[in-house]
Subunit: 345 residues, 2 copies
DNA sequence: CTGTTAGCGCATTCAA
DNA sequence: TTGAATGCGCTAACAG
């Protein structure tokens, strides 16, 4: 049975308040009482209970991060690590701790109910998802990352559509007309277990915009096709295997996550295909290792660290009763050697 | 002002107990009261306060992870991501949430005091460090990862010494006699801001064991020298720049973290040095991308995921009053193309 | 500088 | 099946 503030107070012959001051505001009591209290506390191994303190102060000193998938899936993607670093940077700065919340199968609601946090951040949770209502219900400040802009919610993201359009333009301008696009599956969660993704939609329409301007379109009868893949090396590889076996083999593969491209590289090596000689590969995210792949991966640079950093700052503002607004960060097209002209050109 | 259990009770014309049951044990009350309570709760947007609940139940449902450095440093290393995935795997399974605690400059003590968790895991915190006493004082169950074995503390790690010895043997058997070793700096923290690392010591003695058997030793007058570097790509690159400019250039570089090797690769490319033609590179960890570097990186495979997984299971056992014991996991020497014979052999 | 007195919001034993 | 009472451990007005 751990010692409580009462035990200390009794032993020291003072009141609870005095003990409390000793720990939180020593300047309000005399040196000697302070010393006596601390020595007794030491002796009894007393440490103030953080939960009780939190209850009394109505402040947990921690913020939550709600992931779109199980943690062991999500952190397969190094890009998430970048976001996490940004979040952590601000947390450290503000003296906050970070609580990682996974969306467990049916108990997501419970998870959110029970989260002892001052505010919460979400990854890829869009407007209209019932999770957000839960936050409102609890009166929990929240900001979304890559959740899409909407009235009344603070979001940090990029211009998905413009970025994708630029990406596709780069590909098309190299003469590619047979293109496989690896879209992101399971990147976000909705209450009923279904998955949908605003990010996907936006990127798709960016692609279409570029295609249209070239008089092209996606579809089974064209050379431009979409595949729904998971955000992992393995999935990238498996899909590449499937795609590269098609009679009309694409001359370019677009991976909407760099990490998938690693799997594509691997499969190409096995098949003896040269990048970009036989096939060009384009990524998205620009994870720290993309420049070091062989060949270096062309991609869209996304400011992952700053995304996390910005979102956390906004959340802190929100918690402090300020009223921040959504932020859109810049992306940059990074042309590296994995993009080359279409074979035969 | 959020609604409390009292508001609901009053509105519904029942007692607090009944409302509590409605949320936690509906089978103990009648259908109709349940329905009435829930509907009123819905209307008033009532959600039980997690902190108050925690206080009453004496269980937070979350465990803490105490990092050795600021989060933005630590997650520069993909290997940590692997450990995190393992931890998350078990957390999900057990319905626990994960609280990431950073060792802030002076307030580490505060951080630990205020952490509302049922148990805690540490990375690279060894026996004898005062942090551990704090855990005892709070009566907080804890397990260490890579903390070294000691009486009375539960640890999950690898045989650092044997692994390093095997590593060095592999290098020596390729004829290398001029070797640069990039040790890990700042990998662990102690209370007074100093840093020291049991891991470093153990690996060093493993290296020395192998060297001795070959009649060699480390030192300024020999070809085998140790550099203290940070666990990052950048640090690996900078140290490589320094090392490769030495008059007696090493023919092999050992990086005690794969991620550093990426920086070494980069510098070699700039200098026009071929791996392993001019210089061999050996890593440690076997991060997911090591096989995809060019050339693939020879390294010591460490089971990061299983480390996290095992440690978390042990912690859960500890929380449940079981008495688990320390675990040592296996490593494996992975010979890939970045290791070749010393030039001239 | 120190003590008294209320909460904070919920869970739970014991009666009814 | 429900309610009253008590406790969880701490903070913070408000007095003195």
């Amino acid at each position: 049975m751990r010692a409580t503030i009462n035990d200390i107070a009794r032993q020291a012959g003072v009141s609870k308040t005095t003990v409390s001051f000793a720990f939180n505001n020593p300047s309000k009591i005399s040196q000697e009482t302070y010393a006596r209290i601390m020595s007794i506390a030491q002796e009894l191994g007393y440490v103030p209970d953080p939960v009780a303190r939190t209850l009394a102060m109505k402040q947990t000193g921690s913020i939550g991060l709600l992931l779109p998938q199980a943690i062991q899936e999500v952190f397969l993607n190094p890009y998430i690590g970048e976001i996490l670093r940004g979040i952590g940077f601000v947390c450290d700065h503000e003296g906050l701790s970070l609580s990682v919340l996974s969306p467990l199968k049916g108990v997501l609601t419970q998870t959110i109910r029970n989260a002892a946090v001052d505010g919460i951040m979400t990854l890829g949770i869009g407007p209209g998802m019932s999770v957000l209502e839960l936050f409102h219900q609890r009166g929990l400040p929240f900001v979304t990352i890559d959740g899409g802009n909407a009235e009344g919610i603070v979001n940090v993201g990029i211009d998905e559509q413009a970025s994708s359009e630029r990406l596709m333009n780069a590909i098309l301008s190299q003469g590619h007309r047979d293109i496989a696009i690896f879209m992101l599956k399971n990147v976000t969660l909705s209450e009923n277990g279904d998955h949908f993704s605003l990010t996907n939609d936006n990127r798709l329409s960016g692609f279409n915009a570029a295609l249209q301007r070239h008089g092209l379109s996606m579809g089974a009868h064209t050379g431009i096709q979409v595949y729904h893949t998971e955000v992992s090396m393995r999935s990238g590889r498996e899909t590449a295997r499937e795609v590269l076996a098609r009679p009309r083999r694409p001359t370019a593969i677009i991976c909407l996550a760099d990490i998938q491209a690693v799997g594509v590289y691997e499969e190409c090596k096995v098949l003896g295909l040269s990048i970009p000689g036989d096939i060009s590969v384009f990524g998205f995210d620009d994870i720290p290792l993309s420049p070091f792949l062989s060949p270096p991966l062309a991609t869209v640079h996304q400011p992952g660290f700053r995304k996390g950093e910005t979102a956390t700052r906004l959340l802190v503002d929100l918690i402090n009763k300020k009223t921040p607004t959504s932020v859109t960060l810049e992306t940059e097209l990074i042309l590296r050697e994995s993009l080359g002209p279409a074979p035969g050109l």
